[in-house]
């Protein structure tokens, strides 16, 4: 009887071990899920009356920070619809945006200054 009990106990241990291994193994769905890239933060300097860089390739969810390093005030405004806009940025001030789509933008104070965000 004790021999039978030991065999039964070992069988139960084996099942428990197999279930544990199965539980630890990733499911096929999880294996196929693409690895999500971490969001990045980019800086655009406003200097010499230019957005530098004037064109920036970004991914959805990335953050862009504009820093005014110029001698006069600027702003950052989506064009043509003004869907988003910073307030006036004095020298040394900055403003950030989490990108959700590609956009053209300009400085509404100096309308010839232009920039572009392109979604990759």
């Amino acid at each position: 009887m004790p021999g039978h009990f030991n065999i039964l106990k070992n069988v139960i241990y084996c099942f428990c071990f197999m279930f544990f291994i199965a539980g630890c193994k990733p499911s096929p769905e999880k294996e196929q899920e693409p690895k999500k890239a971490a969001n990045k933060t980019y800086t655009v300097e406003i200097k010499g009356m230019k957005f530098q860089p004037a064109e920036l390739a970004v991914r959805k969810g990335d953050t862009v920070v504009w820093v005014n390093k110029d001698i006069v005030a600027h702003d950052v405004t989506e064009e043509p619809g003004k869907a988003w806009s910073s307030s006036t940025l004095a020298t040394g001030q900055s403003w950030s945006l989490i990108v959700t789509q590609s956009a053209n933008y300009y400085c509404s104070i100096h309308v010839v200054m232009k920039g572009k965000l392109t979604m990759e």
Binding site: M49, V72, V111, V112
Partner: protein, 181 residues
Amino acid sequence: MKVNNHSKVAATVIILLCVLFSVPVYSQKAPKLSDPEVASVAVTANQIDVDFAEIAKERSKNADILQFAETMSNDHKAVIAQAVALVTKLKVTPKDNAVSQKLQADAKKTMKMLRSKSGNAFNKAYIDNEVVYHKAVIADVENLLIPESDNAELKALLQNVVPTLKTHLEHAIMVQTKISK
């Protein structure tokens, strides 16, 4: 034949005189300026465009003109503030001179002309003058004030102002084109 030669010489002299007098005044015979005099010219040139902008804000109802004038007023005041901060730091007192006096005398005539106009005639006169004025000031800063500056910080400030002036010129030409349509 003799008469023809004289005519050719006279024509050549006239053309040469025209060419000489069409070159900006400061590049013909660049005056020697000390740093206090350079500072005076820089502040005067900026203040004149602030004054032109104030006239535009009083007399125009055109949105493009008003926006441009507001930008000129704010930007040139910002440059003046930086120039004043620098000369205060350097313990330099801007010194009046022939160049700043000429700028003021010319500006007085332009302001009188601007105040005599209204409506579209004013808008056109204002923006035409802004194009001409910025071209002249860019030439003066690049060819006179920067070369004449001895102090490195004063020279650097003037060099930093040039892109602002060039952007103003580009903006003025854009408004001028829009208004002339």
